[in-house]
C-alpha cells in the first residue's frame, strides 16, 4: 500500500480507530454489565488498542508493525476468552470489573505478546531453522523509510528503531509528568479531584497511576535508548559488519513494542498505585492494571537481557584486527559493563514481579505474612536488579562523555586504562549495594552499615571518571558545538547527582531523607546527568552519521540553554522542599508547609524542559530531510565510523580496517588509530554472502 501522505492518513485512522474502538468497548461493557459507563476501562482499552493499530495501518499498511499489533489485539482477545470460557465451565466468576477477570487479562496479555512476535515476523527464520530449512545470512532492506516499520536485521536500522521508540516513550512519560506536575503546582486538589473519573479511577488514583507509569515508562525508554545507541555505535566502533546475532537483535527490539503496549494498557485497566517499585503487599491488592505493568516489565526485560547478550558476544567475537582490550573505545568498555549487569541482574526483577503475579493469581504466599511469606524478600529480589539498573542507565552515558570529550578538546583522554576499568568497577560494586534502598524497610539492622560502606565505595570509580574528564579538558582547545554542550551539561548535572548521593547512602541522614523529594531530586540529577544529557549529546553527534545531514546548530544550542537551567532549578527545588519534609508520590500537600511557591516554580521548570524537548523533536525530524548536508568527518574524529562517508552504507565498512594505535591520541603528531587494509579482499565477501547458516 502506498499513499502520498502516510502520516496524515495515519493520524486520521488513529482518530477513527479510537472512536470505533471506544464504541465497541462501550457496547461490550453495556452487554456484559448493563451499565453505561463512559469513563470506564473497557471502552478506553479498546480505543487505545484500536487507535494505535489504526495509526500504523494508515502509516504503513497491513505488514510489519501493523500486523504485529493486529495479532496482539486478536491474541489478547483469544487468550482472554479462552480463560473466560474455562472459568465459565468451572463455574467461577466469568467477568470482572474490567470486562475480563484478572487471570483472563494476564493470560490474554501473554498470548498477545507471543502473537505480536509471530505477527511481526521476527521469528520466521528461527521457525524455518527448526524445520531444517536454511535461510540467507542477510536480508536486504528496502532503501526507504519503510524499513524502519518492519523487521530488519541491520544493526543500524535496529538502533534507530530503538532510539525512535525511546523518544516516543520519553514524550509519553514526560507528558504524564507534566499532567501531575500541573496538579502539584498548588496545594489542594485542582483538577485531579475525587469527583474526576476516568478509566474507573478518580483524580487521586489517576495521579497515582500517572506517577507510577511516569517512572516505569521512563525506565523502559532509557533501556531502549541505551540499547539504541549501543546497537548503532558498538558494531561501527568495532569494525564489525553487524551484531553477532542479527536475528536475536531484531527479536530484542520487537519484543519491547508489545511490552510498551502492555504498559499503556495498565493505565486504562484500573491503573496501579504502587509506584514503579510495585512493593507488595500494596501491589498484591492493586487493580488489575498492576498485572499489565508486571507483564510489560517482564517482557521488556527480555529485550534488555537478549540485547546485552548480543553486545557481549559482539564485543568478544567481532572486533577488528588489532583491537586488543586496551585499544577498545571507552564507549565499548561501558557497553560491556552495562551488558554484564543487564544480562544477569534483569532476571531478578522479572522473578520478583513474577512471584507477585503468582501470589495474586494462585494465592502463593511468597510475600504474604499471613501465609508465612516475607514482604522484605521482595525488596531484596527487586533491588538486586533495580539498583544495578541505574548503572545500566548511566554507564553508557558516561561512556559517551568519555568518548566525545577528547574529540572536542583535541587532547588524549586522560588515564584511559583507569576509565576503562572504572566502568567495570562501577558495574561490579553496583551488585553489592542494593539494600541501601531498604534502610527504612525493617530489614535486619546489621545489614545497614555494610551496605552503607559499599554504596559509598561507588564514589571511587565514579570519581576516577570525573578526574579523567577534568584532566582531559585541562589545557585543551575546547570547542562547543551542540554535542559538546550536552557533554559539559552532563558532567555538571551528574556531579550534582553524585554529590547529593552520599546523604542518601549514609544511614543516619537517609532515615530522614527517605521517601522525600530529596530522593526525587537526587535521582533525576543522576539520570539526567548520566543518561538524558549524554543521550542528547550522542544524538546530536551521531545524527549526521545516520542521516548524512546535521541538526540545526542554533536550535540545538537553544535546546541546551533552555533545558539545563530549567532542569537545575527543578532538581534543586525538589531537594530543597525534600529536606524540609515534602513526601514523594503524594497528590497533595498541606498549604501550611509553605511549599506552594516552590512547587509552582518546579511546575514552570518542568514545562520549560518539555518545551525544550519539543524543540529538539522538531529539529530532529525536520533535519532528517532538510538539515545541512554533512557527509564527511564533521567533528574531525579519529573514530573509524567517521573515516567513511555518511550515511553509513548497509554492510558498514566495504574495506576492513586494522587498529594500529590508541583511540584517543588527539593532537599527538604522527599518531594513528586505524588504517584501512589497502587491498580489500572482496573474494571473501562474495564467498560468505550467499552462504547460508543453520545455527
Amino acid at each position: 500500500m502506498r499513499n502520498k501522505h502516510p502520516v496524515w492518513s495515519g493520524i486520521l485512522l488513529l482518530i477513527i480507530g479510537g472512536v470505533i474502538g471506544y464504541g465497541i468497548g462501550l457496547g461490550i461493557e453495556v452487554l456484559v454489565t448493563g451499565v453505561l459507563n463512559y469513563s470506564g476501562s473497557v471502552p478506553w482499552a479498546f480505543a487505545l488498542l484500536f487507535a494505535v493499530t489504526a495509526f500504523f495501518f494508515g502509516l504503513y499498511g497491513y505488514r510489519g508493525i501493523t500486523r504485529g499489533l493486529v495479532w496482539q489485539v486478536v491474541g489478547t482477545m483469544i487468550g482472554g476468552f479462552v480463560i473466560t470460557g474455562i472459568r465459565a465451565v468451572m463455574g467461577l466468576k466469568v467477568f470482572g470489573d474490567f470486562f475480563f477477570t484478572e487471570p483472563a487479562w494476564v493470560f490474554g496479555g501473554i498470548v498477545g505478546v507471543i502473537s505480536f512476535i509471530f505477527g511481526v515476523g521476527v521469528v520466521s527464520d528461527w521457525m524455518k531453522w527448526a524445520r531444517g530449512i536454511e535461510t540467507p545470512e542477510h536480508h536486504e532492506d528496502v532503501p526507504t523509510w519503510e524499513k524502519y516499520f518492519s523487521v530488519s536485521m541491520d544493526h543500524k536500522v535496529i538502533g534507530i528503531q530503538y532510539t525512535i521508540t525511546a523518544l516516543v516513550l520519553i514524550s509519553v512519560g514526560g507528558l504524564f509528568a507534566l499532567i501531575f506536575r500541573t496538579e502539584l503546582a498548588q496545594s489542594q486538589l485542582q483538577f485531579l479531584t475525587t469527583t474526576f473519573h476516568l478509566f474507573n479511577q478518580n483524580g487521586p488514583q489517576i495521579y497515582n497511576s500517572l506517577m507510577s507509569l511516569h517512572g516505569i515508562i521512563m525506565i523502559i525508554s532509557i533501556l531502549l535508548g541505551v540499547s539504541g545507541i549501543m546497537n548503532y555505535v558498538v558494531p561501527l566502533l568495532l569494525g564489525a559488519q553487524d551484531m553477532a546475532f542479527p536475528r536475536m537483535n531484531a527479536f530484542a527490539f520487537w519484543v519491547a513494542v508489545p511490552a510498551s503496549v502492555l504498559l499503556l494498557m495498565s493505565l486504562v485497566l484500573g491503573g496501579f498505585d504502587t509506584g514503579w517499585t510495585g512493593y507488595p503487599p500494596l501491589s498484591a491488592r492493586a487493580p488489575v492494571g498492576v498485572q499489565m505493568f508486571f507483564l510489560g516489565v517482564f517482557t521488556a526485560g527480555w529485550s534488555s537481557i537478549l540485547g546485552s547478550l548480543n553486545i557481549l558476544a559482539t564485543v568478544i567475537r567481532m572486533r577488528a584486527k588489532g583491537m586488543t582490550a586496551m585499544r577498545m573505545p571507552i564507549f565499548v568498555w561501558s557497553a560491556v559493563a552495562t551488558s554484564i549487569i543487564a544480562l544477569t541482574a534483569t532476571q531478578l526483577i522479572g522473578l520478583s514481579f513474577q512471584l507477585v503475579m503468582f501470589q495474586r493469581l494462585f494465592g502463593m504466599g511468597f510475600f504474604d505474612p499471613s501465609k508465612g511469606g516475607n514482604p522484605v524478600l521482595f525488596q531484596h529480589l527487586f533491588w538486586f536488579y533495580s539498583h544495578p539498573a541505574v548503572y545500566v542507565f548511566v554507564l553508557p552515558g558516561l561512556g559517551v562523555i568519555s568518548e566525545l570529550l577528547p574529540v572536542f578538546v583535541r587532547k588524549p583522554l586522560f588515564g584511559y586504562r583507569w576509565v576503562a576499568m572504572s566502568s567495570l568497577g562501577i558495574a561490579l560494586v553496583g551488585f553489592l549495594v542494593w539494600a541501601h534502598h531498604m534502610f527504612a524497610s525493617g530489614m535486619n539492622e546489621y545489614l545497614r552499615v555494610p551496605f552503607m560502606y559499599s554504596t559509598l565505595l561507588v564514589a571511587v570509580p565514579t570519581g576516577v571518571k570525573f578526574f579523567s574528564w577534568v584532566a582531559t579538558m585541562w589545557g585543551g582547545k575546547i570547542s562547543t558545538p551542540t554535542p559538546m554542550l550536552f557533554v559539559l551539561g552532563a558532567i555538571v548535572v551528574f556531579l550534582m547527582g553524585g554529590l547529593s548521593g552520599p546523604p542518601n547512602a549514609t544511614v543516619s541522614t537517609d532515615l530522614h531523607l527517605t521517601d522525600t523529594y530529596f530522593i526525587v531530586g537526587h535521582f533525576h540529577d543522576t539520570i539526567f546527568g548520566g543518561f538524558v544529557f549524554p543521550f542528547f549529546a550522542a544524538l546530536y553527534y551521531w545524527f549526521p552519521k545516520a542521516t548524512g545531514r546535521r541538526m540545526n546548530e542554533f536550535w540545538g544550542k537553544f535546546h541546551f540553554w533552555l533545558m539545563t537551567p530549567s532542569f537545575l532549578v527543578l532538581t534543586f527545588g525538589m531537594m530543597r522542599i525534600g529536606l524540609l519534609g515534602m513526601r514523594r508520590r503524594i497528590v497533595d500537600y498541606d498549604p501550611a508547609l509553605g511549599f506552594d511557591t516552590t512547587h509552582l516554580v518546579l511546575t514552570i521548570a518542568g514545562y520549560l524542559i518539555g518545551i525544550s524537548v519539543l524543540i529538539f523533536f522538531v529539529n530532529f525530524f525536520y533535519s532528517m530531510k532538510h538539515g545541512e548536508k554533512a557527509e564527511g568527518n564533521l567533528w574531525n574524529s579519529r573514530s573509524p565510523e567517521w573515516q567513511v562517508p555518511s550515511p553509513m552504507p548497509a554492510h558498514n565498512y566495504a574495506i576492513p580496517f586494522r587498529v594500529v594505535g590508541h583511540p584517543y591520541d588527539y593532537g599527538l603528531p604522527g599518531s594513528k588509530y586505524i588504517e584501512f587494509i589497502s587491498e580489500p579482499d572482496y573474494t571473501h565477501h562474495e564467498e560468505i554472502h550467499p552462504e547460508t547458516k543453520t545455527h
Binding site: A130, A244, L309, M318, L355, G363, K371, G373
Partner: protein, 257 residues
C-alpha cells in the same frame, strides 16, 4: 588434558561420569537421611555440578576455536553461538538462583514433607537422560546417525517421564500431603521451583524434538552445532535439578504439621 578423543574413550568417559554422579547422588541421599549434614550435601552437589559442567556440557569448548581466523567460517560462527548459549545460561541461572534465595529466606533449614522415594526416582531418571544425551552427542560427532537417533529418543522419553513424574505424580502427591500452592511457604516455594524447572524441561524437550527430527531428515552431517546446543541446554536443566533436588528434598529438618 586432551579434549578431542576417540569415540570409545568418550563413551567410556560418559559411563564413568554417570557412575560418579549416581554414587554421589546416593551418598547425598543417605547422608541427608542419616545425618542432616548440610556442609557435606553442599560439597557433594558442587562436585556433581562440576562433573556435569565439565564433562557433559564440555565448557572447555568455549576456548577451543580461538585459533580460527576466518570470521565467515562455520567454525568461527559456532564459537560465537557457543558463547551466546553460555551467556544465556549464565543469565538464566540467575532466575534459579533467585528462587533458591527465596527458598532459603522463607524456609530456612526446614524442608517440605515430600515423598522421598519418588524424589530419588525422578532424580535418577533425569540423570539417566543426561547420560543418554551425552552418548547421543558423542555418537553424532563420530558419524553414527542411527545410534544418535536411538539415544536421543531415549533421552526424550526419559525427559518426558521426568516431566510427567513431576507434574502428574509428584504434584498430586504433595497436594494430598497438604502442600498446595496456596497453603503456605512450603507449597508456594515447592510449586514455584518445580514449576520453573518443569517449564525449562518442556523447552528442552522441544529442542530435543527439533534436533531429532532434523537429524532424521539428514541434517547435521557437518554443521552439527544444534545437536551440541540442545545437549548443553538439556544438561543445564539437569544441572539445575542437581541444586534443586537437595534444596527441596534433603536440606534441613522436616517439619510436620
Amino acid at each position: 588434558m586432551i579434549h578431542v578423543q576417540d569415540k570409545k574413550t568418550m563413551l567410556n568417559q560418559g559411563v564413568l561420569i554417570l557412575v560418579y554422579l549416581a554414587v554421589l547422588s546416593l551418598i547425598e541421599y543417605f547422608v541427608a537421611i542419616a545425618f542432616d549434614a548440610v556442609p557435606i550435601l553442599i560439597v557433594v552437589l558442587l562436585i556433581k555440578a562440576v562433573l556435569v559442567v565439565y564433562y557433559y556440557m564440555h565448557i572447555y569448548k568455549l576456548s577451543l576455536e580461538s585459533h580460527v581466523e576466518d570470521e565467515g567460517s562455520y567454525e568461527y560462527k559456532t564459537g560465537t553461538n557457543r558463547l551466546g548459549l553460555w551467556l544465556f545460561l549464565v543469565s538464566d541461572s540467575f532466575v534459579f538462583a533467585g528462587l533458591m534465595v527465596t527458598r532459603m529466606n522463607l524456609l530456612g533449614l526446614t524442608r517440605p514433607p515430600l515423598n522421598q522415594a519418588l524424589g530419588l526416582l525422578i532424580t535418577g531418571v533425569l540423570l539417566m537422560s543426561s547420560f543418554f544425551m551425552n552418548r547421543g552427542e558423542t555418537l553424532m560427532n563420530n558419524g553414527d546417525r542411527k545410534g544418535y537417533l536411538r539415544n536421543i529418543m531415549i533421552t526424550f522419553v526419559l525427559g518426558l517421564v521426568f516431566l510427567l513424574g513431576v507434574v502428574t505424580v509428584e504434584w498430586p502427591t504433595a497436594i494430598r500431603e497438604g502442600v498446595t500452592p496456596s497453603s503456605g511457604p512450603y507449597g508456594a516455594v515447592f510449586f514455584m521451583m518445580t514449576g520453573m524447572h518443569a517449564f525449562h524441561v518442556i523447552t528442552g524437550l522441544i529442542f530435543l524434538m527439533i534436533v531429532y527430527l532434523n537429524a532424521r531428515r539428514g541434517l547435521y552431517d557437518q554443521k552439527n552445532y544444534p545437536v551440541e546446543a540442545a545437549a548443553v541446554y538439556w544438561h543445564f536443566v539437569d544441572l539445575v535439578w542437581i541444586f534443586y533436588y537437595p534444596a527441596l528434598y534433603l536440606i534441613g529438618a522436616l517439619l510436620t504439621g
